[in-house]
């Protein structure tokens, strides 16, 4: 009898205690997150740099591009008020956008400006909008369709874009797979050799920047063996395309006998590649191990974590820690940052998820100094604390996630966040 009566009482007491704790937790949360506002984090930057919020509350703000007059264009992964592109204009030069206008009912990731046109992509197509003499979009409701019919199969579907100086458009077509297994991400399912995905995805395709309605047959597979690229950019110093690959996931989940959770969190490296026509970066057959400094045969294809392979595949230019998800790449050509930044690479790391159960990492902007077109030193953290603190980084519940990068006409750089849609402007104010 006693036991019976005590039980519900105990449960009730426990429930009360729990709800009190839960409520207390919620209150704190509301206090810091009530306004969708980037005041909730203070970015950590090298001495002499300052960051200010240029715009906020834009939602899933992916890549960004800056026009010759300083306007910032933002591509959204989800339409906001029915619009997929936002133009941010700072009319009074106070470092904050005060004239914000949306257009285009196309959601996606890619955006770039070249020769008086604004290019923007969905997960299947690339469009362009003419910019008029007054630097406005001439026909916001009537973009020209440049590329159509690209594969988008629920994985690595974002079509990041870049343009060179010779009238070419480069489009990432990510592999709709983790490691080209017969059954994607299924334990025990073997790798397919040759990997049939590579015919139409898992690489960078080159199209003409001004020819309408191109599709696979009109373009060429410029580079292959790239699992997924989101950050890419044309390097005007080398006149080549640089890309950041998102390395494969789940080494431990799929091969617990070969990789423990710690190795699976660290491997493989997130790689920067310099591409040329015909480049092959080796996916899915190999991955790059930044500790052994070797291309390792993927376990789906008979690898054991040690066997090397991929003699025909390129080595990375830079290898970063695993799963940090490089989503933005920018080569700094401005004159306002200290000399060491000239022609160097900024990389926006969106932050990891595949390091679980180990702590997550990333949510930062990295910098790699370059000299004569090659890295001239180790990579370093340039901007940090987008997450809001070490605990939010470790848990993966980052407040902001860096995605896009663009250089301002005044030599500053812009960073987009696709979690809450904050756009930061980072300037150098030191002497």
């Amino acid at each position: 009898m006693k036991q019976l009566l005590l039980k519900p009482v105990c449960i009730a007491v426990l429930l009360c205690a729990f709800s009190l704790i839960a409520c207390a937790g919620d209150t704190t949360k509301v206090a810091t997150n009530s306004k969708e506002n980037a005041d909730d984090v203070i970015l950590k930057l090298p001495d002499g740099f300052t960051a200010s919020v240029f715009a906020e509350g834009l939602g899933h703000a992916r890549h960004i591009a800056v026009n010759t007059n300083g306007d910032v264009y933002v591509k959204l992964a989800n339409l906001k008020n029915g619009k997929g592109i936002y133009r941010l204009r700072d009319t009074n030069g106070d470092g904050k956008a005060d004239d914000i206008t949306g257009f285009g009912d196309i959601a996606g990731t890619g955006i770039a400006i070249k020769n008086g046109y604004l290019y923007a992509s969905t997960d299947e197509e690339v469009f362009r909008y003419k910019l008029d003499a007054a630097n406005n979009v001439a026909n916001p409701d009537k973009p020209e369709k440049i590329v159509t019919g690209l594969l988008s199969r629920h994985e690595h579907e974002a079509k990041a874009i870049a343009l060179d100086n010779d009238g070419n458009l480069y489009v990432n077509i990510g592999a709709y797979s983790n490691a080209c297994q017969v059954a994607d991400r299924q334990k025990g399912s073997p790798g397919m050799k040759p990997c049939p995905i590579l015919d139409s995805a898992g690489g960078i395709w080159q199209f003409k920047a001004d020819k309408p309605n191109q599709t696979y047959g009109d373009g060429i597979r410029y580079a292959t063996g790239l699992r997924n690229v989101v950050g890419l950019n044309w390097n005007t110093a080398t006149n080549t395309l640089f890309v950041m690959q998102h390395g494969r996931d789940q080494l431990h989940d799929l091969f617990p006998d070969l990789y423990d959770t710690k190795q699976s969190a660290e491997l493989p490296a997130e790689c920067m590649y310099e591409l040329h026509k015909g480049s092959n970066c080796g996916w899915p057959y190999i991955y790059y191990d930044e500790f052994q400094h070797k291309k390792i045969l993927a376990p789906e294809f008979g690898g054991d974590g040690k066997k090397t392979a991929g003699e025909d595949a390129q080595d990375p230019v830079v290898a970063f820690p695993g799963h940090l998800a490089p989503n933005g790449l920018l080569f700094y050509t401005g004159n306002k940052f200290p000399e060491k930044y000239k022609n160097g690479a900024f990389i926006a790391f969106h932050g990891s998820w595949n390091r679980a159960p180990e702590p997550q990492k990333g949510y930062l902007i990295a910098f790699v100094p370059f000299k004569d077109g090659k890295p001239a030193g180790d990579w370093e953290i340039f901007a940090d604390n987008f997450s809001g603190g070490p605990e939010l980084t470790a848990s993966g519940h980052a407040k902001h996630r860096p995605c896009g990068l663009a250089q301002g006409t005044d030599g500053s750089i812009y960073v987009s966040d696709d979690s809450k849609g904050t756009i930061w402007k980072i300037t150098y104010t030191g002497k």
Binding site: Q3, H154, E155, N178, R185, Q186, S189, D249, A356, P357
Partner: protein, 145 residues
């Protein structure tokens, strides 16, 4: 008369207490069963689900759906069991956010492992829903191609 009344009363009291004891026992043995299933399910979760859905069931923005406060987890058990058996490659939408990543089939897990992991998920991360039994998984598996 008096004696028999007393006897009846004692009898009723006795029966009542037996019933109470039985109820308590069933209750606590059910509790034990649930706790054991959750404990086993947690291990399966760590090996098969945690990387994508995260330790707290919160999922990953745009990619892997959260397992908290969603009808996908708390609602129809048959659909939930089928997702584990067949995987999911069409993506899902929850509260206006879409999640695209491919989920592999986990049909190689035993009926008991699937029951355990689903019971764990339905009773963790703030979720509270009925257990999933081995028999239920067996029945869904038999009908799933």
């Amino acid at each position: 008369m008096k004696k028999s009344r007393l006897l009846t009363l004692t009898g009723i009291l006795f029966l009542f207490s037996v019933l109470l004891m039985a109820l308590t026992k069933t209750g606590s043995s059910n509790q034990n069963k649930l706790a054991a299933s959750i404990e086993r399910g947690k291990k399966v979760y760590a090996e098969r689900c945690l990387t994508c859905h995260q330790a707290d069931g919160g999922g990953v923005q745009n990619m892997n759906p959260p397992l908290t406060k969603t009808k996908w987890v708390l609602g129809d058990k048959i659909q939930l069991i089928q997702i584990v058996l067949k995987g999911l490659s069409t993506g899902v939408e929850i509260d206006g956010d879409s999640y695209h990543n491919v989920m592999a089939s986990h049909a190689d897990l035993t009926d008991l492992q699937i029951a355990d992991v689903l019971t764990y998920v339905r009773n963790s991360f703030g979720n509270k829903a009925k257990t999933v039994t081995e028999a239920e998984v067996r029945s869904v598996r038999a009908k799933t191609k």
